[in-house]
């Protein structure tokens, strides 16, 4: 049920058109661990496709536009792609790719959300079959969850 695509976990949902989720971190380890966490917590039934795009592509810390493009294409099932990022160049690179127009699948959105909590919310919501707007709203809502 689980395949590794370019260092990221892709869970195949078996035909249903689910929103895909891409997790972009400066660290390959962080991106793939958050993907593992989110898919683990979403587990049970059908899982939305999730891909990690972490690090600079050469094993260092940073952002790779190539990894992001590949990850977005890998999770695109025609229902849109939600991209969550950590900070700095991860945010700016996704924005620049979106501005290019043809580097990411149609209906790809940079979701403004906390990385870990937003990823869990996005993957759980997408796995339930929600559309892109609902996935985005669920991930963004994670900002309102206060811990203290």
């Amino acid at each position: 049920m689980s395949d590794l695509v370019d260092g990221g976990t892709v869970e195949d949902e078996g035909g249903a058109k689910l929103v895909g989720v891409v997790l972009v971190s400066h660290s390959a380890a962080v991106a793939s661990a958050v993907a593992e966490l989110a898919t683990g917590l979403a587990g049970g039934g059908t899982l939305a496709p999730v891909a990690a795009a972490g690090g600079d592509g050469d094993g260092g810390l940073g952002t790779s536009s190539e990894l992001i493009s590949v990850a977005a294409a890998a999770v695109d099932r025609g229902a849109g792609v939600a991209v969550l990022t950590d900070l700095g160049s991860a945010v700016l690179t996704v924005k620049a790719l979106l501005a290019e127009g043809d580097e990411l699948p149609p209906d790809t959105r940079l979701v403004d959300a906390p990385f870990v909590e937003g990823a869990v919310a996005a993957v759980v919501t997408a796995s339930a079959g929600a559309d892109l707007a609902a996935v985005e709203a669920a991930a963004a809502e994670a900002y309102t969850y206060r811990k203290v």
Binding site: D56, G60, S64, S65, E66, G88, S89, L92, A96
Partner: protein, 199 residues
Amino acid sequence: MLDADFFRRWMTATAASVEHEAERLTALDSPIGDADHGSNLQRGFRAVATALEKEEPGTPGAVLMLAGRTLISTVGGASGPLYGTLLRRTGKALGDAAEVDEAEFAQALRTGVDAVVQLGGAAPGDKTMIDALLPAVDALGRSFAAARSAAEEGALATTPLQARKGRASYLGERSIGHQDPGATSSAILIAALAETAGE
């Protein structure tokens, strides 16, 4: 008039300056950043020089758009999408004209700088590349040499500022007293422009 060859030479001159200044940029990025600005730009502009040789774009707009796209895909840090957007939007604004005059170029570069402001959300005084680029664009109406001086002064003037954007902003007051590496590399880009114009 400025043709594709002028813009190729500008990019090549920038690549040479970045090569020369990479250590200084990384040294500036050590106390307030993650110490990779020089090496990141070096990797990016080396790729730009290679791409321009291989693809030989024939118009000013095509040269800058190829350079911008190459930076976005090769730099790996925030300077990639920021400089990439600057050059791409400038190139896009130049359209497919075979030659552009200096006023048209100044206007296009302003479009590019505006796009960087929009992407990064930085305002003047935030201790970023904008502090060198905005004065340079304002001065470009006078001459390339004036733009170079304005960019260099803008970069120097970032030293007493407190960073409000990017990695350096986490340092708060401890970012004061260091010249911003992004404003410095922007001054290098504009200096290479003046050099290419023979000013």
